[in-house]
Symmetry: C2
């Protein structure tokens, strides 16, 4: 048989998961003078909760309350039990915040390694962008990154891949933080899928050049998670939440068109951008549409007239998927080498503890070598992650 799909020696490397920061992440690292205003956990009954409600865990930072410590961290529940978002550490899986439990959960799930996005700081650390005291915020960013590098991933460097955040309010500081973290072993940078929605200059300015240069120079991809723009897709205030959830991928489409028609990949030709949680089934349509637009409108819209945008995508961008039959069936049009796999633990899109089982099903019709690329080798190349690379059976 040519197809055996997901073989035992192929290691699942996920490019989109989430860590829920434990209560002492910042208290353990910030100077004593910061402890009162830096992020810390308090127990309180959330404002507006019914009388007699159990107190929840709430992040307190600069006197503001952030009540959703574990938004959407419902892995392991049945869909019928989704909806009451957990708001205490004892209501979520210990694997959310404890690296030993995380690795155990990954073992149960058949997953070799994960790239985890932050929770309290938001996917791209934009909570610190919104902070009043930017000096403190800078220390908070570094504390988060040191937590990821020295504690979370250091527990199991062959299983947990370090993704760091940057001080978004200053591209020079951000570049310096990328370099500092890369020297400590970071493998990727979380960066917003759009910056204008955060009140920052667009990808069509030179503002972000120091960040792009540092990412290119260190080889760290910029990982753009759906929603990191702070603007989820929305149709109407009274539309069911399901509408927004189903439209996540549109944010990744916006980011793709925006980047491909910008000067970014012309100026930074080795820059890597990985889209997270946006799916891949839309890529063939969108690249065709982007090229069609480029063919017809490149002469007066101020875009590069020499390079077909889809060629840039196939050089500079990656996508990832959880459960995207439509995307896999179009993998040759997307480019097999553009596709990575994600488990999204502990969020509601995750198939945990059946990720490997589900991956086996969706990859059933894909030839062996392509499966291996998609679940493991592409992510290794994207992230420069070589731990436990099996050079014999992995053909890597």
């Amino acid at each position: 048989m040519f197809f055996v799909a997901l073989q035992a020696h192929m290691k699942l490397i996920s490019t989109d998961d989430h860590v829920i920061e434990h209560p002492r992440v910042w208290e353990d690292r910030l100077p004593r003078a910061d402890l009162e205003v830096g992020p810390r956990i308090i127990e309180m009954v959330p404002a507006g909760a019914p009388e007699g409600s159990r107190p929840g865990h709430v992040w307190l930072y600069e006197k503001r309350q952030y009540p959703q410590i574990a938004l959407n961290a419902v892995a392991g529940r049945k869909p019928e039990e989704f909806g009451l978002e957990p708001n205490r550490f004892d209501e979520i899986l210990p694997g959310c915040y404890d690296p030993k439990a995380r690795v155990d959960d990954m073992d149960a799930d058949g997953v070799q390694a994960q790239l985890c996005f932050p929770s309290f700081p938001k996917f791209a650390g934009t909570v610190f962008l919104g902070a009043e005291d930017k000096q403190l915020a800078g220390r908070c960013v570094r504390a988060y990154n040191d937590f990821i590098l020295d504690e979370w991933c250091a527990f199991a460097p062959d299983r947990l891949i370090p993704l760091v955040i940057v001080p978004l309010w200053d591209p020079h500081l951000a570049a310096a933080e990328i370099e500092r973290c890369a020297a400590k072993g970071a493998k990727a940078v979380s960066f917003p899928e759009a910056t204008t929605t955060l009140g920052l200059p667009s990808f069509h300015t030179e503002h972000w050049d120091p960040v792009f240069a540092a990412a290119e120079e260190t080889g760290l991809p910029l990982c753009m998670h759906f929603g990191s723009s702070g603007k989820p897709p929305a149709t109407a205030a009274d539309a069911p939440l399901a509408v927004t959830i189903s439209l996540y991928g549109c944010n990744s489409m916006y980011a793709t068109a925006d980047l491909l028609f910008s000067r970014v990949f012309h100026k930074f030709q080795r820059l890597k951008v990985a889209l997270a949680e946006g799916g891949i089934g839309w890529v063939p349509y969108m690249l065709e549409r982007i090229d069609y637009t480029w063919e017809r409108h490149r002469f007066y819209t101020g875009v590069d007239i020499d390079t077909r945008p889809s060629d840039l995508f196939r050089r500079n961008m990656w996508g990832c998927f959880i459960d995207d039959v439509s995307g896999l069936s179009q993998r040759y049009t997307i480019g097999v080498e553009r596709i990575t796999w994600e488990s999204d633990y502990p969020h509601s899109d995750s198939n945990w503890p059946n990720s490997r089982k589900r991956a086996t099903e969706v990859l059933a019709d894909v030839p062996d070598d392509e499966v291996h690329q998609i679940v493991e080798l592409n992510a290794r190349e994207l992230l420069g992650f070589t731990a436990d690379l099996d050079l014999v059976s992995g053909r890597g």
Copy 2:
């Protein structure tokens, strides 16, 4: 040979084209007292134009100026010549505004019939929604519809299919206008892809029930053109226009998710909704994602828990394409019977005068009977359009 693709007897019926209203559309029909404030054409040098500029044609309505009489009406030019938008009737093809010239241009293009959206009133007539005097605006809506029914399409009822607009500020008046126009032979209604962006209630209210009931009762589809929400996709103020053009389809995706998670198709089970100019290549990905979301989130988000959303799409919705190789390759997943063809004359996406040639190319690998469905028979069924239906060779 099984495949001969687009055969001579197959008639191209386009579900998305545009009429540029000639200067006397409203003057010919409004009562004398309305003539001063109703829409009329004046000649003037647009404000801000360089000194010595040639005067352009501008619509004047309620003392406001609408300078772009023929936005994007560049059919027949080379892409290198796009960009300077025509602003006089003598700068555009006579086929834009003269039905005889239009039919000649359709003959040159190999197109049997077209469904034309308005220009000055905007795709769904929202200029009249924004008018101060709603009594006058109502007369303007009726005048436009009478122009379409009695003049534009009456010139060649077998070639031009009547699409009408409605007074969006009052769903009961809108329903009455649908009934009035259906009785006069209208085949479709232009309706916004989203209403909240226009300051109107959403599809998740009962506000639009009279409109949906009238459309269902008369059998007229609601045609939702990209951009009719008044909110084109945009990433950044300084992004090239190409970004917005390439992302048009996202508006159709928003409309699809919004409708499929609403109560609309549960309450109006025979209602037909046709998306215009949004492409089709995204449909398999988006339906898979919508179903995935429904599987996981239907129990707490207030959506219908019994009917899979993709089943509603395959009963109630249609898409259309100009040049969507990705979509055609996925036609079985979309549903061949969901797909219609469009020429988009006289806009920049159009392949005029090579529409039939280009359709032959993109349909080259599609079996005969499916080509016939896609270019002709689906549109006939959607629109109830039977003129020149060839019962023998058309197998219709």
